[in-house]
């Protein structure tokens, strides 16, 4: 795949990548016959973005090799892509060439500057895989269209550190407020609610009054992108627990942001089943997850930690079915099912994940029962997160440790260092000066008796 982006479109591409970087850490590049998609998913699988540039966005676009189309997909670190577009580019950069060769190890970005400087960036490809999310954006029950400026004004009222907001749509007005779960301490948070009228929306189709809760950070990301494109944002959603889709379309590009929403049915139950993780990502998409299993809110870090310990203590009180609530990864979500089921069941399973994690997956085919655990363990290790509640899962954790075969603990160095010399083979106490002097005579029994 080869393509050339020129003029103002470079800036849009740069902004699009910036937006992706606010959501995930890895970017999936997926060339198609007449368009190029950049996708990412956040670490907790609660947000997915797809930004697709149509052929006419590029001044040149060639997909080429149709036979090898399967190898034309890759995953790179967003950080490396961000570096390409660092600094103030729009004035000096004339064009940007992107090239992806089949079976290549790099994705090539060539920036041509006006002063005839050419910068070539080779971005290492991490994996040959892609990702697909299963979501519906047309014909959803509720559809709103709003100018990003209006939405921005509203969102600006909220504290910067706020994680989740609740959107309530009524027939005649819309309420946006910060989401407060029962566990959070009300005295630490400003509660904010904004009402705005239907008149501020370009389009407003509501089937029924609905309340959904989702992450604010990701919304901010797409708002800033839409603001630059000055295109309205379409919001499609159905009911709580089902994903909300934000779409921002301009002539030649379309960005879709799919966000998990909080499922009220499992909300209270899931509050005790939190996990410690570095990135406090709140929710889990439960597109096809069985009913009654779903999202959890991992809102605040402090809360997370305490809840974690609580979950450990009360392990046997938890119902076994709960495990899937805490799932962090596709495989966990459906760990009771067969392996083949897994990739189908979760909307965000990388399509070729079975190839990419081949070692573990192959094992999986032979020993279906243990395989899921293996997979789970490796994923858990990757994310440094420990999820647990339920006695069953803690038992699993023990097994996981075995499978993982963690390296032996390094021996304490201190013991070696002290008197180190004494243990060397060349050491002879007789060589030490004054070794024969006796400072204190051995005490004898007779002297003690005296």
């Amino acid at each position: 795949m080869k393509c050339v982006v020129s003029g103002i479109n470079i800036k849009i591409l740069a902004r699009a990548i910036q937006m992706l970087s606010k959501i995930g850490e890895e970017m999936f590049v997926q060339p198609q016959e007449d368009c190029l998609s950049f996708r990412t998913v956040n670490s907790s699988n609660s947000a997915f973005v797809d930004i697709t540039f149509q052929e006419n966005y590029f001044s040149y676009y060639a997909y080429e090799d149709l036979e090898e189309s399967d190898s034309l997909k890759c995953k790179i670190l967003i950080r490396s892509a961000l570096a390409v577009f660092k600094g103030n580019l729009d004035k000096q950069v004339e064009s940007c060439h992107i090239q992806l060769d089949p079976n290549s190890e790099q994705l090539t970005f060539v920036l041509k500057y006006r002063n005839s400087i050419i910068k070539t960036h080779l971005l290492p490809i991490l994996d040959c895989e892609t990702i697909k999310a299963n979501y519906k954006k047309d014909g959803t029950a509720n559809h709103l269209r709003i100018q990003p400026r209006v939405m921005n004004d509203v969102v600006q009222n909220f504290q910067q550190s706020l994680l989740e907001i609740t959107l309530e749509v009524l027939q005649e007005k819309v309420l946006i407020r910060n989401y407060i779960d029962e566990s959070s301490n009300v005295s630490n948070e400003t509660r904010t609610q904004c009402n705005f009228s239907v008149g501020e929306f370009d389009e407003y189709n509501i089937e029924s009054d609905t309340i959904i809760t989702f992450c604010l950070k990701e919304l901010r990301a797409i708002l800033s992108l839409a603001d630059i494109l000055s295109q309205p944002i379409d919001i499609h959603f159905e009911r709580p627990g089902r994903p909300v889709v934000f779409v921002c379309k301009s002539g030649s590009m379309e960005s879709n942001l799919v966000l998990a929403t909080l499922n009220p049915d499992t909300e209270s139950a899931s509050q005790s089943t939190t996990s410690t993780r570095q990135n406090p990502a709140p929710k889990k998409v439960t597109k096809r997850a069985p009913r009654g299993k779903g999202i959890k809110s991992l809102g605040k870090k402090s809360y997370t930690n305490s809840a974690h310990s609580r979950a450990m203590e009360s392990a046997d009180m938890e119902s076994p079915g709960r495990i899937s609530d805490v799932s962090d990864l596709p495989t966990q979500n459906n760990r009771r099912k067969s392996v083949t089921d897994v990739s189908k069941a979760d909307p965000f399973t990388p399509r070729s994940s079975r190839e990419s994690t081949s070692v573990l997956r192959l094992e999986a085919a032979e020993h279906p029962a243990s395989s899921e655990r293996t997979n789970l363990a490796s994923s858990l290790m990757k994310r440094k997160s420990i999820d647990q509640d339920g006695d069953e899962s803690s038992r699993d954790m023990d097994n996981d440790d075995l499978v993982q075969n963690s390296p032996p603990r390094p021996k304490s160095k201190k013991a070696k260092l002290i008197f180190q010399k004494c243990f060397q083979k060349t050491f002879d106490p007789n060589n030490l000066p004054g070794h024969s002097n006796v400072e204190v005579e051995d005490s004898s029994e007779s002297s003690e008796n005296d």
Partner: protein, 273 residues
């Protein structure tokens, strides 16, 4: 206990927002004291209060009403997180048309800001912030009283903020202590001692407002960070500033914005060797 008021004037909204932002810059927590005539912000440093910002309610608010715990008390003291306050009022400048402030009890005592914002449609946009507060019991009120100082030894007009700021920002890195001295001829000197150099900056030709000193110069050493923190108040665009000193005891800086806002900053002197 009851409190409510309303702000409609854009100038007042801007000033109020500036005050709240500056308060948040200086301290995490702040105390709001409501009396019949004034709205006070009080900032404590560790435990000792340092700043009293007094807003004249007649200028800032309409429909202003305070009822204390009982009929004969007309004051309320409350403590709140200043960053929350600053964030909530940050939209005052840009979009707000009018703001209602009330004391409410929603699960816990809150200061509620109801902001009416302009919008693109005919109907206006409403935004409500509930900031959790802690009511301060009456027995603790005396802690927030202003220090009573009969007379300062010298009182002098302050140089412009922008000059002060650039000087202080450099001096801050040299020494933890700043010596402020004012002489009767109207020269304000800021002196910082470093190991290898002593830097002093003189601002001449300042008006001496009052002088009761026996010596020709009056000086006091203060924590340079505390003095520098004060420069944040530039944001409110004060119309007059003066500096009062009692030798080796206290430095007091007063800012006024016309006649409706007054900010008093007390910095205790530190031992200087």
């Amino acid at each position: 206990m009851k409190f409510k008021c309303k702000m409609t004037d854009t100038g007042s909204l801007r000033d109020f927002s500036n005050v709240a932002t500056t308060v948040a810059r200086m301290s995490k927590q702040c105390v709001i004291r409501l009396t019949r005539n004034f709205f006070f912000f009080n900032i404590a440093d560790d435990t000792t209060p340092m700043v009293w910002a007094r807003l004249d309610q007649n200028h800032f608010f309409v429909d202003y009403m305070v009822h204390g715990k009982t009929d004969d008390i007309h004051e309320i003291y409350m403590e709140l997180n200043s960053a929350m306050l600053a964030k909530s009022v940050s939209t005052f400048k840009a979009a707000a048309r009018s703001v209602k402030i009330r004391l409410t009890n929603k699960q816990q005592p809150c200061l509620t800001f109801e902001i009416e914002m302009s919008s693109i449609s005919a109907e206006s946009r409403m935004c409500v912030h509930d900031i959790p507060i802690t009511i301060i019991p009456q027995k603790k009120w005396p802690e927030f009283n202003q220090p009573h100082i009969e007379k300062f030894e010298i009182s002098v007009e302050m140089p412009q903020f922008k000059n002060l700021r650039s000087v202080l920002e450099r001096m801050k890195n040299m020494s933890p202590v700043l010596t402020i001295s004012v002489d009767t001829n109207g020269v304000l000197a800021l002196k910082a001692d470093a190991d290898s150099a002593t830097v002093s900056v003189h601002f001449p030709n300042l008006t001496v407002l009052e002088c009761d000193a026996e010596d020709e110069t009056v000086s006091a050493s203060v924590d340079i960070k505390k003095f520098h923190a004060f420069v944040a108040w530039d944001a409110v665009h004060p119309t007059s500033m003066n500096c009062n000193i009692i030798s080796d005891k206290v430095v007091n800086i007063n800012l006024t914005l016309d006649d409706y806002m007054q900010i008093k900053y007390y910095i205790p002197a530190v031992e200087c060797n």
